[in-house]
């Protein structure tokens, strides 16, 4: 078994971070090589990724199951690759050292099965840190961008009329398109 731990320091409140990570589709979308995400059930999803293994690019389908969903700081999951003897598990653990800061520790393991398990794990060894790092960088970037956008929106609200027609349309569209991930959106969902 291979295990990798990836720390992520995010310059945003844990509530905002949770509002982002509480949707599994957001996890899939920031995976390096993301192609598709399907909801299978409340706890299960199927991700399609294009993974680079050296010079080879391979499309893999990953079945992800949520084992634990503990708002607002911990997620545990397990996964397996369709058609490949590879599975694994992982955990997301968040802490809040300061009001506007969140420290996340992402743990991911890979287990090859069958007689070729050592081969799978050998090939995965250089890939796992790269994938985890790519995921971490993107997670940080997206949440901090939203945090900044949220702050700017809040600042604008100080001087803007509270509820114009266009503002209402904009909010409705954002909810419809599933992009209501601003601090305001989080507030609206009762996350903060």
């Amino acid at each position: 078994m291979l295990e990798h731990q990836q720390p992520i320091s995010i310059g945003a409140a844990n509530a905002l971070v949770w509002s982002y990570v509480s949707d599994m589709a957001n996890w899939a979308a920031i995976m390096p090589g993301f192609r598709d995400y399907e909801v299978v059930s409340d706890a299960d999803s199927r991700w399609t990724l294009k993974v680079g293994v050296g010079a080879l690019v391979k499309t893999v389908h990953v079945l992800v199951h949520i084992d634990l969903w503990r708002e607002p700081d911990r997620v545990e999951f397990s996964y397996r690759l369709e058609g490949e003897p590879v599975s694994g598990s992982g955990a997301y653990q968040a802490t809040s050292p300061a009001p506007d800061a969140t420290e996340v520790m992402l743990t991911v393991s890979i287990v090859g099965s069958g007689p070729m398990a050592p081969a799978w794990e050998a090939m995965a060894r250089p890939i796992l840190p790269r994938l985890a790092n790519g995921f971490a960088q993107e997670l940080k970037l997206r949440i901090e961008s939203e945090h900044q956008a949220g702050s700017e929106t809040a600042a604008t609200e100080e001087i803007a009329p509270r509820d114009t027609f266009w503002r209402r349309v904009s909010l409705w569209l954002r909810r419809l398109l599933g992009r209501d991930r601003t601090l305001e959106g989080a507030r609206a969902r009762g996350a903060v």
Binding site: V53, G54, A55, L56, V57, K58, T59, V60, G83, E84, P85, G114, P115, M116, P118, A119, W120, E121, A122, M123, R125, P126
Partner: protein
């Protein structure tokens, strides 16, 4: 293009077009002779087809072989190639190569730190059948190369989608070879991959990339050369596309075409190599550009008899946005696998790829048909339990749509489009050969080379094993190009100068590696020759272009 204007974006002495071993060897050699050099690469990475290969370098009478006490001579190597060539080669080119290759090897070991060793117990294709074949010594491989030493070029230097480049030949074949994947030491592979220690072809390519880096030779990627510039007397430069804009580079002493084969160009494959419907297994940027470039300045195209290879794609695998074609040459030579045509008949020695490949393109003149195309790999479940098939590991299910599966051979034939009754009869006969360990039809498993490359040493005949355990599988195979080793290329002289149709060299124009017609070897091929040709011809071209001492002694 005839052009005498001085409007150049860059000026150097020698330009290499292509960043595989041939182009890099030429640039490095020119630089060592105090000439300035520039490498232009059409793709986004350097290393070329060399990096896709197993990295074998076949050189008769190389100093490692002689130091190990393995007797050989350049003359013996010359005679062996002469025998393989079947009269299609040219004696003077074979002789020039035989003499220059050991010198080129020493040169690069001395100058760029190339580190090679003999691949022990690895015989020439035709040992012991041909008098000048050798049981070992002519094949070399590199010692692991630290990828991190490439600096900013680490990610821009190709690795291979095909070969397990975390392991050496010694590692692989010391553990029982490709057929014994289950016995490999994957902890070594994991360690090397984690620290980017490159072996096989990626390692060989990386040594030469490092050689260029250390000499501050500019390597420009994503630069597609579209035309050669001539002043009416000699080639003086190139026109290229760089970032969508024209780029003109002057070559005061020479341009070396090292763009690999004609793979990826179906028209050239059909009309020059006589290969139908071939799929390229290498990077799309290899497409016969040397033929177009040299053709406009009078370069002569030459061909030798050669094969298209055979392979398949695995669903979901790709390179540079295209399906990845895998070569089946070792997959079909392991026990419990045979290759049959639509009649359900075997047609060659599956453990020696050239036997199968030559037969695929055979035309039955009496019926104007290709009797051995289409064709299939047939195997039983023992093969799936024990051996890999491309990247599909032993014990791993075939992906949906990859193979036809059935519990009997007759049903398998019906499902795949093969004569099932004849298939069952053919397999019964083959299984009888397995009992005796002798294949009187095609002598499968009798070549030591075959045993080494795809044999399972635990079998009485390492390449024979019966197909008896259902379910049975049929994988339809396709023609693929030969990984840059093409039947057609540019004619050249002993100093790697491109020849015109008047047999005179075109001043300022050179060729190296797979872009050069295989006139030194004629109808013959031997694993490791392509890398050796690239290195040697690049060496010859670089020296001659730079005005250094001509190794061949010919003008």
């Amino acid at each position: 293009m005839t052009d005498q204007s001085g409007d150049w974006d860059q000026e150097v002495d020698v330009i290499s077009v292509g960043a595989g071993i041939g182009g890099l060897a030429a640039a490095i050699t020119a630089a060592e002779a105090s000439a300035s050099a520039l490498v232009l690469e059409a793709s986004s990475q350097v290393g070329g087809v060399t990096a896709y290969s197993f990295g074998q370098v076949w050189i008769a009478a190389n100093h490692h072989q002689l130091e190990a006490g393995i007797e050989d001579s350049a003359e013996s190597g010359f005679r062996y190639i002469e025998r393989l060539g079947m009269g299609f080669g040219e004696e003077k080119l074979n002789r020039a190569h035989s003499q220059a290759a050991p010198a080129a090897l020493r040169f690069f070991e001395d100058k760029i730190g190339l580190q090679c060793r003999v691949i022990r117990d690895y015989s020439d294709y035709f040992w012991p059948d041909f008098a000048d074949a050798k049981p070992e010594g002519r094949f070399l491989e590199v010692l692991p190369f630290p990828g991190a030493s490439l600096g900013e070029w680490q990610e821009r230097t190709r690795t291979s989608p095909y070969v397990p480049y975390g392991l050496t030949h010694e590692d692989i074949f010391g553990s029982g070879g490709i057929a014994n994947l289950l016995n490999w030491d994957f902890s070594v592979m994991a360690e090397r991959l984690e620290h980017d220690m490159r072996c096989l072809g990626p390692g060989l390519a990386a040594y030469f990339v490092k050689g260029a880096i250390d000499r501050n030779i500019p390597m420009l990627t994503n630069v597609r050369v579209t035309e050669l510039v001539s002043n009416g007397e000699r080639v003086i430069g190139v026109v290229a596309e760089r970032d969508g804009k024209p780029f003109r580079a002057r070559a005061r002493k020479g341009v070396v075409l090292a763009t690999s084969g004609i793979d990826g160009n179906a028209d050239y494959e059909r009309t020059l190599a006589k290969h139908l419907d071939v799929n390229s297994m290498i990077m799309p940027s290899v497409n016969g550009s040397h033929i177009r470039l040299a053709g406009r300045v009078g370069g002569r195209i030459a061909t030798v008899p050669d094969v298209s290879m055979f392979g398949y794609t695995i669903p979901g695998e790709e390179q540079e946005g295209r399906p990845l074609w895998r070569n089946a040459m070792t997959d079909v030579g392991v026990p419990h696998v045979v290759v049959v045509n639509r009649e359900g008949r075997r047609f060659g020695d599956e453990s020696f790829y050239r036997s199968i490949a030559m037969a695929i393109d055979y035309i039955d003149g009496g019926h104007q048909t290709h009797p051995n195309f289409p064709f299939w790999a047939i195997m039983d479940s023992q093969a799936r339990e024990k051996y890999p098939f491309g990247s599909l590991m032993p014990g791993q299910d075939f992906p949906q749509g990859f193979a036809v599966q059935a519990d009997t051979l007759i049903e398998l034939g019906a499902a795949a489009g093969i004569d099932g009754a004849q298939l069952a009869e053919e397999i019964e006969r083959f299984n009888g050969f397995c009992e005796t360990g002798k294949d009187p039809q095609f002598q499968r498993g009798e070549k030591p080379w075959s045993k080494y490359i795809c044999g399972d040493p635990i079998q009485p005949n390492p390449n024979l094993g019966p197909l008896v355990k259902p379910p049975f599988y049929a994988v339809q195979l396709s023609r693929i190009s030969n990984g840059g080793v093409s039947a057609a290329g540019l004619a050249y002289d002993a100093d790697a100068r491109v020849l015109g149709y008047d047999d005179r060299p075109i001043a300022g124009l050179y060729v190296a590696g797979n872009a050069a017609a295989r006139l030194d070897a004629g109808a013959g091929v031997q694993s490791g020759m392509s890398n050796a040709r690239g290195m040697t011809q690049g060496f010859l071209a670089g020296r001659h272009a730079a005005g250094a001492q001509a190794v061949s002694g010919q003008d």
